[in-house]
Every structure is written in structure tokens, then in C-alpha cells.
Symmetry: C2
Subunit: 428 residues, 2 copies
């Protein structure tokens, strides 16, 4: 496929995003050429005029089936939300529910410009099936919680997810081992998960330092801070995706600075649940990579990463009372290459680079709210929304064109999600 | 016009928003009936099926012509932004620039569900003309800055705006006297503005307590805090719209609690410029009315009040580290009735009430990101965006239907805004 006459976002050597123009050649699932080149072979053409191409966004932390619980409970404290509102419904979800919830999430993610994402949940076969159907790039892991005695069974499920799905969908599916959190995983269980990650040679995905309660709990129970708890279990000997990372002190930063992987900042979820603001400035200054995620749809409410980009910048500026902190350029990098790196797929995706997989979105910039159009990076972060995405290409395949999904029947997924939710509530 | 089979948002006695259903009858420019009633006369019918009606949103603080400077300068400190980036261009704007800038802002506001707004700028004749063209409800005031010796001339312009435009457009246009801020208005000038507000019997509109620098400056120059400075000039003897209100102490709250009017909170602008978070919780607890605004498009970047609703709730939850603060219900009230009250038009608009002017928006809720649809107030605030608005009715007139503007040629306003901006930059 040859995308002609397109403006596209490239990153220069000092990390600034700039607009360039030319053509983009996609063959098989790879960006073969971009810029000004001649190409005479007969291929499918796509007119990029008026559009702006950018790398697809990376949502680094998600629980896709929870879309069925979107806006079921808001404005309540985290523990009430989790224990009284979410868990009773999550416990009653079946595979069908999880499939349609996951597909609804993926449809929404694609429609708002997300081309790759990381998922931690239960029933990951359903999530994998939905990912294969939707065409999205997914990094999945069975969420591991030591709440019952069946520790072996849980680890086996996590191992099965890797064996069954890693590399599937032309390599679109990869896997992680996903122990839930310090407070849901006792030391031996966490160590077993680390060992499994080593044995399977896939990274870890874990919640960390989301709330002050977590810190208090772990300090009380194990006499160490959450990050030291992970350190002692060997987590940092493996590449690891740390979700949240709100509450750190200087010692914590010292542990983190040599980590492989990075931190997925979920600003909206952290705000909505009153958790706090991750110190992106400090993390970045210490060389720790930070990406962006929405967290599950039941906390964030929306899966539009354009909201998360705005929120990330706004929150950091508020935290430091300084408008120059976390520029639009930095935020764009967080939402693309940084996320890809942390998901372990940074060689394949995260930028419009010759040789990388073709994960590309085309933005329709001919909009009132994007006019007159001074600084493009600023417009993308501060003014655009996911609804300005016109076309989405993942792994070289057009999965949305003119805002019409090609892999998913929107009406069907909405109808099924509503029906599954209705039945789920009746089981409560 | 009879809108049939519509679901609509009503407020019950304890301030909670709930969904009701029925028909809505609009005659002339007024909501004549709503709910379940029979009406047999032959009138224009509009099918509301699948839509959700709610009162149009109120943007309480704007500088519409600044849309030409959207994303021209972001991520820089406020004083650099204002003095080095904004002012040199603003000084070079002419009437044509202001007209197209204002019209671009209004088009964007209508397209994202705003039906009424307040404007403080210069060249208000152009803004008024654009308001008449667009069909929006506008409360305009000539921004008064004592930067030259022509104080009398400035006050006369402010007075002329009232005489010329108040009540025009079938009452859609009303006016305010708009001294810019404590730091731009010396005592005698501010007092003259207060007197003019009294003489013309229109409210005041002024920036207050936006930055710590302002507080420092006023304390240094006049030995009182900004709010006391206003108090001494007689500002609080008049109904007043205070924009921002970020930096208050307990004494300030005591001055404010008997005020008429209220505070327009501009969360996104305040975040982007690193100013801080207005204490909406405390203000509300003290009985001070708080509405929402975007501030000018050059700071907020977007005029979508759905962003401001999200930001208001997120910021307050972060400020208090408490998820229960500033619920979706409270935010909806801020963005509608509170805003209308503060703009001095609360008897006419701000809710779907029989006898009020028909300022109504219809939301298309059949969207992936609004599925499955548990709590409607939560969906509207946390998941919806201005792009989910399908139909906008202002003063009984359909100004947008199926996302197509009826009063403004979108392509023309974008083309003109771009051309004016190009020429403006060339004059720099």
C-alpha cells in the first residue's frame, strides 16, 4: 500500500516532533519507505491528503473486559469501589462476558488511535481471541492473585497463556507474566512468578505504588516499602512493566534507575480514584522510562489516550506549578515509543521508521478545534481527541478507514456488551 | 417544534441528575412543555430516539478572538506566554481578525454543546456581530486595561457596548462591564468601572486570583490582597463574574460569601499555565457559586467544555486525594445552571425547565465509548466529549443538526481563520 501526499510526525535528534511530508510505502506488514522516494510498482494507493500520519498510540496498562463496568461506580473511594462495586461483578463474569467486554474495549481503542496495548486480567483466552478478531497488537498476561490455595493452578494458567498465544496473529500477540501487585502476591508466589518470567523469557507486568494504603500495608506486613518488596523477590532482575508508580521516595528511585522496562503512568485513573500524581518529571530525569495507559475502563471511563496525554501534561504542570514541565513533545513520546519500549515491542513499533511494523494512524486535521494550526505537536496533545482519528493501520492492515471499523461490527459489539451487562447485573 | 421520544436530564430536589423520558415542546424560543403530555397541533417534529437531551453548556469565561492563536505557544511560563507570545500578536489584530477568530470560537463552542458564554476582549462589535451570525447566546464586555492615558475613551467604549448590544438578537446578547484584573486596573479606574456597572445596571466581569504573582504584585503595590483591593473599589456591591479564583485564603472566603454572581473556574487553562487548582470544594461549602469556563483558546487549546468537566473533577479529587469530591452530578450543575446564574441569565437558561428559553443539546449516546451505559451523569462527565453532541438548539432555533452547523459555513470559517492568521503572523 502506498499512502500518498501525507504529512507525518517524525522525531528529530533532540527528541522534538516535527511535521514532514511525502509518501509512505507499506508492504506486507512493514513500513518499507517514507518521505520522498519514487516507487512505480502497481500497489494499492491511499490518498493521504489533508491527513497527518503518526505512530499508533500505545496503551500500556489495561483490563479490557472491565468495559462492561464503565461508569457503573464513580466518585467513591478506591477501596469501596474495588471491594463493594467491582469485585462482586467481576467474580460473576463468565467467558462470554469477558470476550465481549474485551472486544468493546478494543473497538474503542482502535477508534481512538491505539494500535498496541498491554492487558492484565483473567480469562485471557477470551482476550486473545478478541485481539485476533480486532486486529490490535496486544501484550497479554494472566493476572495472578494468591487469594485461594490453587497457586499452582494459577501459575499454570499464566504459563499456558504464554505457550498458547505468544507470537500468534502474525506476531501481534506477545505475553507477559502478570503478578497483580505486592499486596495480592505473598513473597513465595511473587518469586514463583519471577521465575516463570525467567523460564518463559517474557517480561513481568505488575501494579506498583498506586496508593498510600498499599505502601502502609506492605510496610506493616513485610517491614519494607513496596518497591523493596519487589526487589527482594527478584522482580528487577527481569524486564518489568510497572503500572502506576505514584508513590516513590528517593530510595525507590535508586532501585528503579537500573530497571529494564519502565513505568506506565495512568493519570486519569489515578486522579479519578484520588490516588495522586506520578512524578513523571523526576522519573524521566533519573532516566526511568515512562509510558502512558488508561488502566481499566471502569476507573478511567474512557480509553481515549488523547485524554491521557492531556491529563499527563496538565497534572505534571500542576504538580510543579510550572507550565514548561512535560511538554507536548515529551507526552507524544510517552504515548508512542516509550510505551512500545516498556511493552517489549519497541523494536517493532512506536515510531514511523523504515523497517518497523506498519502501526500507523491518520488524523483528520481539517477540524474547527484544530484550526488555524500553529504547532502540530501542541494541537495533537492539547486540542485533538481520539475522534479526530480517521484511519488506523495495524501490522500493515487497515482496521479503520473514514472512522469505520473494518474488523469489528460496531453495532453488534455494542448490543452484545449491553446484553451481557444486563445479564451480569441480574446475577448480582 | 416537538421533540419526540426523547430521554432528557432533569435535576431532582437533592441536586442529583436523573434521566427522564417523554416529549419536549418548543414554541417560539421557549420550552413550553416537557415530559408526558398530549399535543395535537400541527408543528415541526424532530425524532429524539436514541438521543439524550440536556441543557446547553455554559462557558463562563472566554476571549473568543484568541482562537487564531490556538497552540501558537504552549509549555512556557505564564508571563513569557502573555508578554512575549500573546501580546505582540494581539496588538496587531484588526477587526477582521477578531471577527473570524470569534466566529471560529463560536462554531467550535456550538459544535461541542455550548449554548451560552461570556466574553471579555477588545473590538466587541466584531464579537457581537459574530454572535448574531452564529446564533449563540453571549454575554459580552469590553476588556478594560488602563495601559494608556485614554481612560475616558476606554470607559466610553465599554459603555457603548452596553448601549449598542444589550438585548439584541432577540435578547440573546447581554452585556457586562469588564475591567481586566486588579493588576491591569488602578483604583480610580476600577471604581469608575464599578460605577459604570451600576449606572448601566449590568454585572461586572473581572479576572481575579489567577496566579501567585498577581497576589504578590497587589500586596506590594496596594498593601492588600487582590480580593480586598476589589472590595475597596466597590466591586462586591455589584453582581460580579470572577474568572479563575485560584488563590484564596480564609479572609478572602469571608469577603466572597456574600457576593452576588460567582466564580468561573477554568481548570484546563489554570493547569496549562501552571497557576494551580481553584478550591471548588471549599467555595461550594461556603455557598459561593462556581461555574466552568475554558478561558481563551490560546491557553486552553480546546473549547470543549466536556474536557473542562473532566478536568474539574479530576483536579479536585487530586487536590483532596479523595475520589468522592466533586461528583459528576456536581460538575454537570457547574457547567449548566451555576454558569447561567453567574452570567446573570439563570432565569432564562441553564436547565430544561418549562418556561425557560430553549437552549437544548441532544447527545448521541449510541457510541462505543458510552457503552454499556450504567450511570448517565457519569458517562456525560467522564466518558463523553463535545463530539458526541448531535443537535444544538439555542433560543428555540436549531443551529446544529446531525453535527452540521446551520448558521455557520465551517469550511469558510476555517479558511478565513487560517488566512487571517497567516497575515497576522506576517505583520509580526
Amino acid at each position: 500500500m502506498l499512502i500518498q501526499n501525507i504529512r507525518y510526525m517524525a522525531v528529530d535528534e533532540d527528541g522534538k516532533w516535527k511535521v514532514q511530508s511525502g509518501d509512505m510505502l507499506i508492504q506486507d506488514n512493514v513500513i518499507r519507505n517514507i518521505g520522498n522516494f519514487s516507487f512505480d510498482e502497481s500497489v494499492e494507493k491511499l490518498d493521504g491528503k489533508g491527513m497527518l500520519a503518526m505512530p499508533g498510540l500505545i496503551n500500556g496498562h489495561q483490563h479490557t473486559p472491565m468495559s462492561l463496568l464503565r461508569c457503573y461506580s464513580d466518585d467513591v473511594p478506591l477501596m469501596t469501589w474495588l471491594n463493594e462495586k467491582m469485585l462482586p461483578l467481576e467474580m460473576r463474569m463468565n467467558d462470554e462476558d469477558r470476550y465481549w467486554g474485551a472486544l468493546l474495549s478494543m473497538a474503542e481503542m482502535i477508534k481512538s488511535g491505539t494500535t498496541a496495548y498491554a492487558d492484565m486480567y483473567i480469562g485471557m483466552d477470551m482476550v486473545a481471541e478478541a485481539a485476533l478478531t480486532s486486529g490490535i497488537r496486544a501484550v497479554i498476561g494472566r493476572g495472578l492473585i494468591a487469594m485461594d490455595d490453587n497457586v499452582e493452578g494459577r501459575l499454570r494458567e499464566a504459563s499456558d497463556v504464554v505457550d498458547r498465544w505468544h507470537g500468534k496473529g502474525n506476531g501481534r500477540l506477545t505475553t507477559m507474566i502478570a503478578p497483580h501487585s505486592p499486596y495480592m502476591c505473598p513473597p513465595e508466589f511473587l518469586k514463583a512468578a519471577v521465575n516463570l518470567s525467567e523460564a518463559k523469557q517474557v517480561p513481568l507486568h505488575i501494579h506498583l505504588a498506586e496508593t498510600k494504603d498499599e505502601e502502609r500495608m506492605i510496610l506493616e506486613k513485610y517491614k519494607v516499602r513496596p518497591i523493596e518488596y519487589l526487589h527482594q523477590a527478584g522482580v528487577f532482575e527481569r524486564p518489568v512493566l510497572l503500572a502506576h508508580g505514584v508513590h516513590f521516595n528517593e530510595e525507590d528511585y535508586n532501585v528503579l534507575k537500573s530497571m529494564r522496562g519502565g513505568i506506565i503512568h495512568n493519570p486519569v485513573s489515578n486522579a479519578k480514584l484520588g490516588c495522586g500524581i506520578s512524578d513523571v518529571k523526576k522519573l524521566s530525569e533519573r532516566g526511568i522510562k515512562v509510558g502512558l495507559g488508561t488502566d481499566g475502563p471502569a476507573s478511567a471511563s474512557s480509553l481515549d489516550l488523547f485524554f491521557e496525554m492531556k491529563a499527563a501534561s496538565w497534572f505534571q504542570k500542576l504538580k510543579y506549578e510550572d507550565a514548561s514541565v512535560l511538554s507536548a513533545h515529551d507526552v507524544l513520546t510517552m504515548a508512542t515509543q516509550n510505551g512500545a519500549d516498556i511493552l517489549g515491542i519497541g523494536e517493532e513499533t512506536g515510531s514511523l521508521t523504515i523497517g518497523k511494523k506498519a502501526d500507523v494512524i491518520l488524523m483528520d486535521m481539517n477540524k474547527l478545534h484544530l484550526t488555524p494550526g500553529h504547532e502540530t505537536a501542541n494541537l495533537l496533545v492539547y486540542a485533538a481527541t481520539g475522534q479526530d482519528v480517521d484511519t488506523v493501520i495495524i501490522d500493515g492492515k487497515v482496521v479503520m478507514r473514514g472512522r469505520e471499523l473494518k474488523t469489528i461490527d460496531e453495532e453488534k459489539v455494542m448490543a452484545n456488551a449491553k446484553e451481557r451487562t444486563k445479564q451480569l447485573l441480574e446475577r448480582l
